[in-house]
């Protein structure tokens, strides 16, 4: 399947049919409507009012109410992907019912939000003032701007506790015309009032200054409390605070009641968003008083059935015709693969969608990704966890097709890792001695090479020739992928009609690489004659020398360019070496798992009591393997992907296509059951 061929079409019709047509198109998501607003000279009139403002309001209220929602069980909301699952009729009915009262509910929720914010601000303000006044709770006088009288001068404030004694001695010892009233202690400070005869004013001020006295000035914050005692003011504050808390609690109860409408609001939000897209789309097209016309892209194979449908549904009053794209206009890319293969589309998309001259690489990278991932993660335990978790969600969850495809990719990765684990004997990093006997190969005897310890195991990557074998396997798979890549380039260029280039570049290289493979293989396999392949390799190299210089204009430079072109072989060598990462990552999973088991064993044997030892071992094993699982999973995914993007795609794939974005109902909250 791969890339779906798209056709550009022009749809024209009478305005009377516009609304129904748009509704159907929006529902089916068949067309991508091209923006031709720059050609529009006529006036656009708005049919229905679906302002962005309404949508923003609903969105805002949903965000506000969400924390007050009585939460559905975690598993439930995970299984539905956080969406509302219902039939389209139900949703429609609910929108109709709810639409009437939605205005009131939105308004009430918005007011409640405002009030909650206001209460909070007021509460914070009172709290701040209360904290400021708190040290003066036992201050016997009322709050005044200034406590000085005709003959005396007063200071109210604090010094650090450690200064208290010196202060008393210095001031009281100086004269009996000075009085100190200490009324509070706190935060390492003492709070007091000093009253002194006016004649002592400069002396007291000087002494206080030396003690780093912090004078308190009520006129800064408490002008409204003049004449009242701090105790009374504090009492009033407390009362006010309790009232606020009560108001808040009452309001929150009401908000909780409002939150019951959240699901209705969500449905409304989706419907309003659809209304908005439907309304916005008309700005992209041509509309006159009686007619409308728009350009669109659609899958070529649906064209016939769609035009028949148009003919029947609108009695010939809406027409469709195939048109050529404008100059410089590139068709969007619509990639569609069979189920299973489609799961690998996100990997292609991660790099880039196929460009105009590309083939869709998804189907070709899928088997390689599966194998590479399996060998990188290569642990039956981890693979089973991945498989079972994704299978659980696949079977019980209600997700969109895209989400299910993504889950299926995880499921396949899990299967791959399980197979890889069997192949390489990885079971949570266990050594044969630690593993339960049903996993073991009955023919295995410790110390004898040649028989692998686990059932179904092909390579023991840590023993004897194992690592080299594994490395060879990784390189072999790499060679296979490189050859596929070069061959796909040949296929692609043939398909695009560049026959000369297709034969001279990819095919010649393919031949050379294949001959090198056979030449190397003939060193190991008896029935292949090495001399023959040596000759063939040289011939292939000769062909490349001839072909690689073909674009040089000057005759003398042609053979020179040809020989230089042969140097590209170094690129293939470095690509091939890159595949050794499969082996390194495969080993890493097993060795780190082994290290975790080892650590658990050592730590538990150090514990004073065997029971504690068991507990410690379990903790270390669970934690260690979770860490190893997460890191290996990330590594396996990322590096298997990289091998596709750089080594594989480098041979035949450019990317850079624009995704086909049909005019369709985007469902943010809803999920329609059929």
């Amino acid at each position: 399947m791969a890339k779906v061929a798209l056709q550009k079409v022009l749809v024209t019709g009478f305005r009377t049919h516009y609304k129904i047509l748009m509704q159907e198109l929006h529902r089916s998501g068949l067309l991508e409507i091209v923006d031709t607003s720059d050609l529009n000279t006529g006036e656009v009139e708005t049919e229905e009012h679906f302002g962005a403002y309404d949508l923003a309001r609903i969105d805002g209220v949903i965000t506000f109410l969400k924390p007050y929602e009585t939460v559905k069980t975690q598993a439930d909301s995970m299984l539905s992907g956080g969406k509302l699952v219902m039939s389209e009729e139900d949703a429609k009915a609910r929108v109709k019912d709810f639409g009437v009262k939605s205005g009131d509910i939105l308004q009430e929720a918005e007011e409640a939000e405002e009030n909650l914010v206001r209460y909070e601000n007021e509460g914070a303000k009172i709290q701040k003032r209360r904290a400021e006044l708190e040290p003066f709770r036992l201050f016997k006088m009322s709050i005044e701007k200034d406590y000085s009288t005709e003959t005396t001068k007063s200071w109210v404030g604090s010094v650090v506790k450690a200064q208290q004694k010196t202060l008393m001695e210095n001031l009281l010892g100086e004269s009996n015309l000075i009085d100190i009233d200490i009324f509070a202690e706190g935060n390492g400070n003492v709070y007091f009032r000093v009253t002194a005869d006016k004649s002592m004013e400069s002396f007291v001020a000087g002494t206080l200054n030396e003690m780093r006295f912090e004078e308190y000035d009520f006129s800064m914050e408490f002008t409204d409390c003049y004449g009242k005692k701090p105790r009374e003011v504090l009492y009033a504050f407390e009362k006010e605070e309790t009232e606020l808390v009560e108001k808040r609690a009452n309001l929150e109860l009401r908000v909780k009641e409002l939150a019951v409408h959240l699901d209705d609001l969500r449905i409304l939000c989706d419907y309003n968003a659809w209304g908005k897209t439907k309304n916005d789309i008309q700005h992209k097209m041509l509309k006159t008083k009686n007619l409308f016309a728009f350009e669109a892209w659609m899958p070529k194979k649906s064209f016939d059935s769609f035009s028949v449908w148009l003919q029947n549904a609108f009695a010939g009053e809406v027409s469709i015709e195939e048109i050529a794209p404008r100059e410089g206009e590139e068709a969007p890319v619509f990639v569609k693969n069979r189920r299973g293969i489609a799961s690998f589309e996100p990997i292609t998309e991660m790099f880039a969608l196929p460009g105009a001259k590309d083939i869709d690489p998804t189907a070709y990278l899928a088997p390689f990704f599966f194998i590479f991932f399996g060998l990188c993660l290569s642990d039956v335990g981890y693979g089973m966890i991945l498989t079972l978790v994704s299978a659980y969600f696949l079977l019980l969850g209600k997700f969109s097709r895209t989400a299910k495809d993504g889950l299926f990719l995880l499921f396949l990765c899990g299967v791959g890792a399980t197979l890889g684990g069997i192949f390489l004997g990885g079971y949570f990093g266990m050594t044969p001695e630690q593993a339960p006997s049903f996993l073991l190969n009955p023919d295995f005897v410790a110390g004898i090479e040649g028989v692998n310890p686990f059932r179904g195991q092909f390579i023991d990557p840590m023993v004897g020739q194992g690592p080299i074998l594994f490395l060879g396997l990784a390189m072999g798979l790499g060679m296979l992928q490189l050859l596929s890549g070069v061959f796909l380039d040949f296929y692609r260029q043939m398909k695009n009609g560049d026959y000369m280039d297709a034969v001279c570049d990819p095919l010649s290289w393919f031949f050379l690489l294949l001959m090198i493979v056979f030449y190397v293989a003939s060193g190991f396999v008896g029935f292949l004659d090495q001399e023959v392949f040596k000759m063939l390799t040289l011939i292939a190299a000769g062909i490349l020398v001839i072909t690689q210089g073909r674009k040089q204009k000057i005759w003398l430079l042609k053979p020179l360019s040809g020989i230089l072109g042969l140097y590209n072989i170094t690129g293939y060598v470095s690509d091939l070496l890159s595949y050794s990462r499969i082996m390194a990552l495969g080993l890493a999973t097993g060795v780190i798992g082994f290290a975790m088991n080892l650590t658990a064993g050592i730590l538990s044997s150090m514990m004073p009591h065997p029971a504690i030892g068991v507990v410690v071992a379990i903790i270390v094993i669970v934690f260690g393997h979770s860490l190893n699982f997460a890191l290996s999973l990330l590594g396996a995914f990322v590096h298997s992907g990289r091998l596709q993007f750089i080594e594989f795609f480098g041979k035949f794939y450019e990317g850079g296509g624009r995704k086909f974005k049909p005019f369709v109902r985007e469902k943010k909250y809803l999920f329609f059951r059929n």
């Binding site: 890191l631 990330l634 750089i646």
Partner: protein, 157 residues
Amino acid sequence: MLESGIVLSIIGAVIAAALAGIGSGLGVYMAGSKAAGVLAEKPDLFGKLLVITALPGSQGVYGLLIAILTLAKIGLFSGGLEVPVEAGYQILWAGILMGIAGLASGLLQGRVAAAGIGAVGKDGSVAGKAIVLSVIIETYAIFGLLVALLVVNSIQL
């Protein structure tokens, strides 16, 4: 001291784990602090940023891997084996190789990851590409790991 195979091997293991760990630490530090900055503006990107931040962390794991493998090889966990001086030097060099490869690539991968995080902060859809760019550097840590693995594994004790 440098005539004892066991000591040489342990030095090798320590160098592998320590240098590669430093490389990863610095790399994750750079990526992580950048990610924290982006998160303040766009908390939704946490998942993507976490993955990119974790990428330079693998060098430390490779270093640990070589260290553990070395220690297991010389039988440190099971009472110790006779390690000839030649084998000790072999392991030491493997450790130095892993350490340097991990240090340099972890550090530099951190820079690429941090730059990628900046790009993701502007446009969340480039996360995949930012990951790929960052992974290219890791190749050299993996090559280091590969050679070190082969060297350590080839020793027969």
